[in-house]
């Protein structure tokens, strides 16, 4: 092992660190939206809304998926590859279910006349929830890649870094959703 690699022993892996910076960046984008939302709320023509109950189900789903990906990571660490693969698939399915539930929520809002252009408050709701769903979609794509490599017979390298990176990202979008949900319930 070269001197440089030894020196880096104490430090966090660059890819993991890059992810943390990226998460700060994503946080700033949502901070931009939510602060714009707070400013707009105090101005004229703001209509308050009540979120349909389906968003509670989706919250349960995403929390469950965080548990499954955490277990998947542990399984990987213990080299229990069969269990790991199963848990990745379960997480993937839960992620897809989450997006479907969000879509159902959108449909229910729309049917009640709370359309994208009906009021600024609804426009904000669609954009904030929609962009969060896009971030989940990004996580799903990453999980598919992970899933593909978990089944690849060529890979003999037990590299935990990508698993940890995706797992951290997944926890982040989970946490982000819980924050957004609380935000949308408390400040409307």
């Amino acid at each position: 092992m070269s001197i440089v690699a030894m020196e880096q022993k104490k430090r966090i892996h660059p890819h993991k660190f890059t992810l943390w910076v990226a998460l700060a960046s994503i946080t700033m984008m949502f901070a931009g939206f939510t602060s714009a939302y707070i400013i707009k709320r105090n101005q004229v023509n703001w209509v308050t809304f009540i979120l349909p109950p389906v968003f509670w189900y989706s919250t349960a789903v995403i929390i469950l998926s965080s548990v499954t990906i955490w277990s998947a990571q542990n399984a990987f660490k213990n080299r229990e590859m069969l269990k790991y693969r199963k848990l990745v698939v379960v997480t993937l399915l839960l992620g897809i279910l989450f997006i479907c539930l969000q879509a159902v929520g959108f449909k229910q809002l729309w049917d009640k006349g709370m359309t994208l252009t009906a009021n600024v408050s609804f426009s904000f709701l669609y954009i904030i929830v929609g962009l969060h769903a896009l971030h989940i979609l990004g996580g799903i794509i990453a999980l598919i890649v992970l899933f593909a490599s978990a089944f690849s017979t060529r890979v003999r390298n037990y590299n935990i870094v990508p698993v940890e990176v995706i797992s951290t990202y997944w926890h982040f979008v989970d946490f982000l959703w819980i924050y957004l949900l609380i935000f949308l319930i408390l400040i409307r």
Partner: protein
């Protein structure tokens, strides 16, 4: 932890097995086009930035012709621009398009991507002692996102209705309503698409710079031993990563307003006698989102120029930089304050005066770290053994511009004065000097200084001196008189001043400014010629360390390959500024501390 390290070696694409690095085959495509070598990516940013600078600079020459000679016609303009300049006279809507594109190109494509893109890529791994960036792939992607953004922005110049024309700040409602002006149509959509790609490019790049600096420094390279260029590029990346996403959120909302009928920024608007259905939006909200990026953006431009100038000043004064920790601290202070002053761009929007006072205070606070930096640059020069290379002249010129432009910033930071000076030529003069010209001077200092490392040859000095003096004197001649015009109330963004009795007295001055701007533009073409000529025919570099500098990039071979060092990465034992110590001209960072060595 040891597992992590073993995996890391196989995972980070530029590994530590140097023999493999230097022998691997590179085709033309992987070496020059889709390169993952940080040095090549840096050069790609530089050359793309230069092409943009020529285009953006040329635009300013065309609209200066209109401002200087409003009653003349130039038949060649029609040959060049077609219906933009019918009868040889620039049409008003295309005047606005040119002004908008000049701002967009220079602020984002040249002074952001061309400046920090070039030097962060080129210098970070070389100066901290790393083989490449933390993720060379992300790095390559960042260039190609920038390239794609460039293509889209370029294509907007060729659409029938012209490119975006609502100013580089793209305030709604002008930017949100397709019917508002010809430049609000497809040109505006292309602008937004291009900027979205640009933001992605900046974010990928910034993530990489930060993780590289924090994680891949060589042994002994503690944070406080890093050259100031790296500190400056680090803070620049932090600013970019935290502020560009907020612009992205503003742009997304704008995109919805433009295309999907939402009303984030629109309310009670009548266009051509037709009342629009939009209600409840606020145009000011966009300004908050825009300037939350827009102000840090100013520092994204100026911080790399500060870092480069600090390095060049110290190397060419043969003296340590005065107050290294104060320099780092003031960069940090500027980076923090950058996020807290955005509303000083909005004093005349009806902002609550109480809130205005808060922003005035924070804005004026920036003078403190700025003054510390200026003091330290001047004391670094004081009694130095100065070598007046073109790079050094540009670094000194940078300090001059930063002082001149910074002082007018104190005027503008006061809301009571700003109400009078807002949107006049005083503002134009201020930000061109402190951000535009100073940013360019930092960039030129960097290019002249590191050209030997980039291409293994020197830039021609005579052409360099001509370039410097024409640019320095020309820049002052262009922007100094604008302060007077602005104090007299001459507003920016006007197409033709000849119709106003109060501004007729400036007709001669405007002509003079336009004439000088053509000269200065010509001097920049001389630089481009020098650059291209010297790549192929310049004097060859024969020694490893031609400037006798301490930093690590000069310990690599004259033309370093991918991986930078042929053997092990050198270890670092000292800071980057041991010049003129213990009777020795310079002591490289790789030299161990001697037993009887004095402390600086």
């Amino acid at each position: 932890m040891s597992t992590t390290v073993i995996l890391q070696e196989s995972d980070v694409q530029v590994g530590y097995d140097t023999h493999q690095e230097h022998s691997h085959h590179e085709s033309f495509i992987t070496k020059y086009v889709f390169s993952q070598d940080h040095k090549m990516i840096g050069k790609q940013f530089l050359i793309t930035g230069m092409i943009w600078a020529i285009i953006g600079g040329f635009f300013s020459v065309i609209f200066r012709l209109q401002l200087g000679y409003p009653e003349s016609t130039f038949p060649w303009l029609e040959d060049l621009l077609g219906h933009w300049a019918k009868g040889g006279k620039l049409q008003p809507e295309f005047y606005y398009a040119l002004v908008t594109m000049h701002g967009t190109i220079l602020v984002f494509f040249v002074l952001t991507a061309g400046l920090s893109g070039t030097f962060a890529n080129f210098l970070i791994p070389l100066q901290i002692g790393a083989r490449d960036m933390a993720s060379p792939l992300l790095n390559m992607l960042s260039y190609w996102f920038f390239f794609s953004a460039s293509i889209v922005m370029m294509s907007s110049l060729f659409v029938q209705t012209g490119p975006a024309s609502g100013g580089w700040t793209i305030y709604p409602p002008l930017s949100a309503l397709g019917d508002a002006s010809s430049g609000s149509k497809i040109g505006m959509d292309l602008w937004l698409a291009s900027m979205a790609m640009f933001i992605v490019s900046q974010l990928l790049a910034g993530l990489n710079y930060i993780s590289t600096i924090l994680n891949l420094r060589t042994k002994g390279m503690s944070m406080t031993r890093m050259p100031l260029t790296i500190w400056a590029l680090f803070f620049t990346a932090v600013l970019g990563v935290l502020s560009f996403p907020v612009l992205l959120s503003g742009a997304i909302l704008l995109l919805f307003d433009r295309n999907l009928g939402t009303s984030f920024f629109l309310s009670d608007i009548v266009v051509n006698g037709k009342i629009l259905p939009n209600e409840g939006g606020s145009a000011i909200l966009f300004q908050h989102l825009f300037w939350f990026l827009g102000h840090p953006e100013v520092y994204i431009i100026i911080l790399p120029a500060m870092g480069i100038s600090s390095e060049v000043l110290s190397v060419n004064s043969r003296k340590p930089i005065f107050g290294y920790m104060a320099m780092v601290g003031s960069l940090f202070a500027i980076a923090i304050l950058a996020f807290l002053v955005w509303a000083h761009h909005m004093f005349v929007t009806g902002l609550n005066p109480f809130l205005g006072a808060f922003f005035v205070l924070l804005t004026l606070l920036i003078a403190v770290p700025s003054a510390i930096k200026v003091f330290n640059w001047l004391t670094t020069l004081w009694r130095g053994n100065i070598r007046f290379t073109p790079a050094m002249l540009y670094a000194i010129g940078f300090v001059s511009m930063f002082i001149s432009g910074g002082l007018t910033g104190i005027f503008l930071g006061n809301s009571s004065l700003d109400i009078h000076l807002h949107d006049t030529y005083f503002i134009i003069a201020h930000f061109h000097i402190v951000m535009g010209v100073a940013g360019f001077f930092g960039m030129y200092a960097g290019v002249y200084h590191w050209f030997p490392k980039m291409y293994g040859r020197f830039l021609n000095n005579t052409m360099g001196y001509i370039h410097f003096w024409v640019t320095l004197i020309g820049a002052y001649l262009i922007f100094w008189p604008m302060h007077y015009e602005g104090l007299a109330g001459m507003p920016r963004r006007y197409y033709d001043f000849s119709g106003w009795e109060s501004f007729k007295m400036f007709a001669g001055l405007n002509q003079f400014i336009s004439f000088i701007s053509i000269l200065v533009f010509a001097a920049q073409l001389l630089f481009v010629f020098n650059f291209v000529y010297s790549i192929f025919k310049g004097r060859k570099v024969t020694t490893q360390n031609p400037w006798k500098a301490n930093t690590l990039e000069w310990t690599t071979p004259i033309r370093p390959g991918h991986g930078n060092w042929e053997g092990e990465i050198p270890e670092v034992y000292r800071g980057a500024y041991d010049y003129g110590k213990d009777g020795r001209d310079f002591i490289p960072q790789t030299e161990q501390i001697g037993e009887n060595e004095s402390h600086h």
